[in-house]
């Protein structure tokens, strides 16, 4: 018996540094008055307008901090630029994890970057709430520490196709997209939904990032005469594509865009209402951007970032920040990474007051938001819709 006790004691002694190391890991990036959160995003480059999402999210941190933080701890954002580039994103993630030793990660626009980061972050094990990038593959298959806090591409892609088919007599649908994971994360589920409903896309086109002309694509569309076009394009290319559609006399064909664009900024970029009057976008919010339900959020962002110009991206990450704060509150003052992840898995039907659908994370499913509304111009005004001609 004595021998066994000695063996156990020896094993315990041998394991104690590991246990201490685990305990240290559990509270890394945590002090009595601060929780450090690594916030990665494209703060430079031609997709940098997406970083507005992270500005909105950090404004929410500031609001929480001004109200006293969570159990006395302030949310301290450590910003890193990915420039929407996988290599830079990987360097940023490694710096945040190994050098800055943040407690957790939240943010990330650009699905391509987030996908490239997944293996590194999954291995590191710290909690990561994906607050903007939409690719399903970021959070599916399930990874214990990765939580998706926005509608994923699958949810959005299916919502896009459902809206397209809700227009009466729609049978000829064309798809134009970038050849990257972000675009496929919308177009593949949309294609699946169309095919489930007996509609095969009549034309599939590519428009690469940085292209300044869509003549060839539009001429092919002109020959095909589609009833509806699904466009999985970034903002700049969307504006160029819509301009060229109008230029070649196809301005009356409705176009369904992704959550990567919004009506107001697309209008601003094209500079012409006629060009965008038939443009529809995934709209993940409860109201128009200038509607009464969104107004307090805009005011919150301007309180902490007075010069920030608001766009649809400004609000998209706030919902997951609210869910995070709710989980942090539920854990209590004795916070650890494992306790936070367990608390996140207990979030159910969390009404953010900003996203059109609630957030639910379970132990089996970390894709928290399952649906989305659509926005389009009705009588010249941006309107939130649940189907063709039906207000939300």
């Amino acid at each position: 018996m004595k021998k066994y006790i000695s063996l156990l004691a020896a094993a315990g002694l041998a394991a104690s540094p590991l246990l201490a190391q685990d305990a240290e890991w559990e509270t890394e990036g945590l002090t009595d008055d601060a929780i450090t959160i690594g916030v990665m995003g494209p703060f430079s480059g031609n997709a940098s307008s997406y970083s507005k999402a992270l500005i909105g999210m950090m404004a929410y941190y500031d609001k929480v901090n001004e109200e006293g933080g969570v159990h006395g701890r302030k949310l301290v954002a450590v910003q890193e630029d990915t420039a929407c580039d996988s290599a830079k994103g990987l360097a940023a993630a490694k710096k945040l994890i190994s050098q800055d030793e943040v407690f957790m990660l939240q943010g990330n626009s650009c699905s391509g970057v987030a996908l490239a980061l997944r293996p590194t972050i999954e291995e590191a094990g710290l909690p990561w709430i994906v607050a903007h990038a939409v690719s399903d593959s970021i959070s599916d298959p399930l990874a214990g520490n990765i939580f998706h806090g926005v509608p994923t591409g699958r949810a959005n892609g299916r919502a896009m196709a459902a809206f397209v088919l809700s227009k009466p007599d729609t049978s000829n649908v064309a798809i134009i997209e970038h050849s990257n994971d972000w675009a496929h994360s919308y177009s593949n589920p949309a294609r699946d939904y169309l095919e489930e409903n007996g509609v095969a896309p009549s034309l599939e086109l590519t428009m690469e990032r940085g292209q300044t002309d869509a003549t060839a694509q539009v001429l092919k569309l002109r020959q095909e005469k589609p009833d509806f076009i699904i466009a999985a394009l970034y903002e700049a290319e969307t504006a160029i594509f819509l301009r060229d559609l109008k230029k070649y006399g196809m301005g009356d064909v409705p176009v369904m865009g992704t959550a990567g664009t919004d009506l107001e900024n697309t209008l601003k970029r094209t500079g012409d209402f006629d060009t965008v009057k038939n443009y529809y976008v995934i709209h993940s919010y409860v109201d128009n951007l200038d509607g009464p339900l969104m107004q307090p959020w805009g005011e919150m962002i301007h309180k902490y970032y007075p010069d920030e110009e608001l766009s649809t991206f400004s609000f998209v990450s706030i919902g997951s920040a609210e869910a995070l704060v709710s989980a942090l509150e539920a854990v209590g003052p004795e916070l650890t990474r494992s306790k936070l992840m367990a608390a996140l898995e207990e979030v159910r039907d969390f009404d953010t007051g900003i996203l059109s659908d609630p957030i639910t994370w379970t132990a089996d499913d970390h894709q928290g938001v399952k649906g989305s509304a659509v926005a389009g111009f009705v009588d010249g005004e941006p309107t939130v819709l649940k189907a063709w001609g039906q207000p939300y």
Binding site: N46, S48, S49, I176, T206, T215, A216, I240
Partner: protein, 289 residues
């Protein structure tokens, strides 16, 4: 569709032609390939944006002012940063160009950081429909402007004493120096003209595209592809290369696959270097040993 693609390609190709020509002007006089040239194109576009949108200047005077400013910047760049290291290795000159380009890009990012900016349409003409062919105001404006500029440029080169002096320096800087031409000043002038022509490319593309600080990168590749196709050092070849590249992109996109549009420039570079390294109008390099 063929006519429409050709017109679209011609319009796009004219921009590439201008960028390739501006790269060639600098390359012929100084043998420096300006790897930062894409950012000069971007800077021209942003300067015109500032003048048109923020200062309320009409487009044409704004374009002229932006070109003058870029001419001055080109001269200053040569005098301040290139001339002092001119005797050093070529890689140093290339790196200096890249550094200057990134500096311009960094300034644009500091000022406009996260925004993708629209430029108001310049030539807001209703499209003309000729059967299936659509002739847009933008295409008319771009093709017309570049044609006029090319006529002026090549006319100046062929018909004036100044043009003959330029060609003398191109052919033999040492010979030109011996007959009393100020080659250093001429090099300043070439950098200035190169920067101004590149800027015009940016100014013309701004109203049909959108502005962002990374705008120049793809145009630099298109410029290189056009130069390669036309033949390194050939002014006429650069123009023809640009136009052919623009048209090739449209044909490849429409008749093969739209995914090919963006890689056409790279395919052209590889194909020309393998099949006819001297390009359409370049001279075959002969090394005497």
């Amino acid at each position: 569709m063929l006519m429409q693609l050709t017109l679209g390609g011609l319009s796009q190709g004219m921009i590439y032609a201008l960028i390739a020509l501006s790269l060639t002007v600098v390359y012929r006089s100084t043998t420096v390939v300006n790897f930062g040239h894409g950012d000069f194109v971007m800077a021209g576009a942003f300067l015109s944006y500032v003048l048109v949108v923020l200062a309320g200047v009409a487009f044409l005077p704004a374009a002229a002012l932006a070109m003058i400013a870029m001419f001055v910047l080109g001269v200053m760049f040569n005098r301040g940063l290139i001339r002092p290291i001119r005797g050093g290795p070529h890689i140093g000159l290339a790196l200096m160009c890249i550094a200057a380009g990134y500096l311009l890009r960094g300034i644009a990012r500091m000022v406009w950081g996260r925004e993708v900016l629209p430029m108001p349409p310049v030539f807001d003409m209703a499209p003309i429909f000729v059967g299936d062919l659509v002739i847009t105001g933008d295409a008319v404006f771009i093709i017309g402007t570049v044609l006029v500029l090319l006529l002026l440029f090549f006319g100046l080169m062929a018909l004036t004493d100044l043009g003959k002096m330029v060609q003398a320096v191109y052919q033999s800087p040492r010979g030109a120096r011996l007959i009393g031409l100020n080659v250093d000043r001429f090099n300043d002038f070439s950098w200035g003209v190169g920067a101004a022509l590149g800027a015009l490319g940016g100014i013309l593309v701004a109203p049909v595209s959108l502005l962002h600080p990374d705008l120049g990168a793809s145009f630099l590749i298109k410029g290189f592809a056009a130069m390669t196709l036309g033949g390194f050092g050939s002014l006429g070849g650069a123009v023809l290369g640009g136009v052919l590249l623009g048209i090739a992109e449209q044909y490849a996109g429409a008749y093969l696959d739209t995914a090919l549009i963006e890689i056409t420039a790279y395919v052209v570079i590889v194909a020309v270097l393998f099949i006819r390294p001297q390009g359409l109008f370049g001279r075959k390099a002969v090394v005497k040993v």
